[in-house]
């Protein structure tokens, strides 16, 4: 597995909001099930001293770290403050920040990511479902019941489509090492290349499913950067140009980033590309 394991202690920012609260509960249910550390503290400025679903809340990450050990943050704060929350995570020395929040202005994201790089903090997202290492750790909002441990890494720009594919894999008896949702925004903290580099060093991961979509060229860049066996799927073959397909980053601009040319580029590199999600288990099995 990559990025997080049972020993990873997590701070949730935006802990007292509806989303934060709901997912702290789910993350800690999962942590209990697998014998992991899970969420040790929540942070909401001005709400220090409260407790939500059995987790103490602090005014800041700094205050939380005085009382608890943590390596990672999962960010649920609203879009306008989420860039700041990434920087707060980085400034306090957390090694990983997972930004679930959607609709962060891209300039905020760019600045926060540049700052996180200076601090040596890995950022996943924003606008992502987080990550799940079945049997080890869940940082984010992925439905854990669909997954099972095994040799296949999954890295995806999507949320529910990732769950769909994880569900297909599990039904076919193929388990996952870590499932990473890197996010649907145009600018994201960790791209396919960076996640694939981690999978390459992970002894558990034997092959990877790469789930891309229209917009940009991160899929090709990722595939070109790795020697791992890959099966790719690219959503948005039918997407019209210059229309944003739900995700801020899912847009064919200036005639670039369309699904067909991505698929062609991937196939030219020798990557197997599935034409629909249900084909993925069969294709990945032939690579294991």
């Amino acid at each position: 597995m990559i990025l997080a394991d049972r020993k990873t202690g997590v701070i949730v920012t935006g802990a007292t909001g509806r989303q934060g609260l709901f997912h702290i509960r789910l993350m800690n249910e999962y942590a209990r099930e697998v014998g992991g550390v899970g969420v040790v503290a929540g942070v909401t400025p001005g709400k220090g001293g409260q407790e939500v679903v059995g987790v103490p809340v602090y005014d800041s990450i700094r205050a939380a770290l005085r009382e608890h050990e943590a390596d990672a943050s999962v960010i649920f704060v609203p879009a306008g403050a989420a860039g700041d929350s990434i920087m707060e995570s980085a400034a306090n020395g957390l090694s990983l920040a997972v930004a679930i929040t959607e609709h962060i202005p891209v300039h905020d994201t760019m600045r926060a990511l540049a700052y996180a790089r200076l601090c040596g903090t890995t950022v996943i997202g924003p606008n992502c479902p987080g990550l799940l290492s079945p049997g080890e750790a869940k940082l984010g909002i992925m439905p854990a019941q669909l997954a099972m441990p095994g040799p296949v890494g999954v890295v995806s720009r999507s949320g529910t489509l990732t769950y769909e594919i994880v569900d297909e894999l599990t039904r076919a008896g193929i388990g996952q090492s870590t499932v990473v949702g890197i996010g649907g925004d145009p600018v994201i903290g960790s791209t396919f290349s960076e996640i694939l580099a981690r999978f390459e060093k992970d002894p558990q991961t034997k092959a990877v499913v790469l789930v891309g979509e229209v917009g940009g060229a991160l899929e090709q860049e990722g595939a070109a950067s790795t020697s791992l066996p890959l099966v790719a799927y690219v959503a948005g073959v039918s997407a019209p140009p210059d229309k944003r397909m739900g995700h801020a980053g899912a847009i064919v601009e200036g005639g670039e980033g369309d699904a067909r040319s991505k698929i062609q580029a991937l196939e030219a590199m020798g990557v197997t590309v599935a034409s629909r999600p249900s084909e993925i288990p069969g294709l990945i099995r032939s690579l294991l």
Partner: protein, 361 residues
């Protein structure tokens, strides 16, 4: 959201970037006295599409012909869009056309500034054929200003007067939450003055509120209504209505429909944790859209609960036109509810789309 040229130029002017003398008119009557512009004027249709010049949306004419030519332009469509606003400008004595842009580079996760001596309408061709002629500088977004050396490197031997414009363009890009700020052409006049002859500015949709825009003009009426309900919605021209949760899954559903030789009427992502009311609203929105013969609902329950979705579908009340695929949280309860009310429900995406294709064909 893409700003119109005159809006972009207003922003440029405020940032100290010289722009041509001009005024915006919405009818021929508003042209008024044009003598201040000299002997000739440029009429530029303000339509939200690229390639306007090549499509006949820019007219250069003597001042006395301006009313007739403007009337002609108002009566036309440019790439399908009606002309409702014309920017009237002085005709510039251009000595050379440069190109300068600042945009978000997804690969480097930073802004990048581009500059080339080969500005003008063929810039895309230059980018393809001769990319080395376009100089670039990747900007660490923690910098508040472009460093002087970067500006010097970018403009090379071009007139020094262009330097401050490049710096100002970067400032506009940051201050206005732009995804793109582009001047093409950036012109040097016969007398050595420098002017931004065009302006293309795209504002980040996620920053429209803090930039003071009330709504996103790029959306159609139905798209705007869907956005108010928290949906991501895109109109397409097929016959199968599509509702999904999550952008990726919804796109994958569209693609699968295409594999069955049909076309989706829309893309509608109800978003995470959709409740009964939102689902009912989504189904009704599509049922009322022209050309929709069948609606496929494809949801994977994580945070979203299948029983809640089923109740919403039943509330909308059109069983003969809705095909449902659901899996995940509370799947069994959802299935029981739907079956009871006479809906077809499938557990696999492939089977559901095959059924929708059969019903829609």
């Amino acid at each position: 959201m893409r700003l119109r040229e005159y809006e972009g130029k207003r922003i440029f002017a405020e940032a100290g970037i010289p722009v041509p003398a001009g005024r915006i008119v919405r009818s021929v009557g508003e042209l008024g006295d044009l003598s201040c512009f000299g002997e000739r004027v440029v009429l530029k249709a303000q339509v939200d599409v690229g390639g306007r010049g090549k499509a006949g949306g820019v007219v250069i004419c003597p001042v006395h012909e301006a009313p007739a030519r403007a009337a002609e332009l108002f009566g036309r469509t440019i790439r399908g869009l009606p002309v409702t606003e014309i920017l009237v400008e002085e005709c510039l004595p251009i000595a050379h056309e440069y190109y300068c842009a600042v945009l978000v580079d997804r690969s480097t996760r930073q802004p990048v500034v581009l500059f080339t001596e080969a500005g003008g309408v063929e810039i895309e061709e230059t980018a393809r054929q001769d990319p080395d002629r376009i100089r670039r500088f990747d900007v660490n977004p923690l910098l508040t200003e472009l460093p002087s050396f970067a500006v010097r490197d970018l403009i090379g031997r071009a007139p020094k007067a262009l330097g401050p414009m490049v710096s100002a363009l970067y400032r506009v890009f940051v201050a206005k939450d732009a995804l793109l700020a582009e001047i093409n052409p950036l012109v040097v006049l016969d007398d050595g003055r420098v002017v931004a002859a065009d302006a293309k500015v795209i504002i980040d949709d996620n920053a429209l509120a803090r930039q003071g825009f009330e709504q996103n003009r790029d959306l159609t009426e139905r798209e705007a209504e869907a956005e108010r309900h928290g949906f991501s919605y895109v109109e397409l021209d097929g016959e199968i209505g599509v509702i999904g949760n999550g952008a990726g899954l919804t796109m994958a559903t569209l693609d699968l429909i295409e594999q069955y030789g049909l076309r989706a009427a829309n893309f509608l992502d109800v978003g995470g944790g959709a409740d009964r009311e939102r689902v009912a609203h989504a189904v009704r929105l599509l049922a009322g859209a022209p050309g929709v013969r069948v609606i496929i609902v494809n949801l994977l329950g994580g945070i979203t609960r299948c029983d809640e979705v089923a109740r919403g579908i039943i509330d909308a009340g059109i069983p003969q036109r809705v095909i449902v695929r659901m899996a995940g949280t509370n799947e069994a309860e959802g299935r029981a509810l739907l079956t009871e009310h006479g809906y077809e429900m499938y557990d696999s995406m492939d089977r559901a789309v095959a059924a929708a294709a059969e019903a829609g064909a």
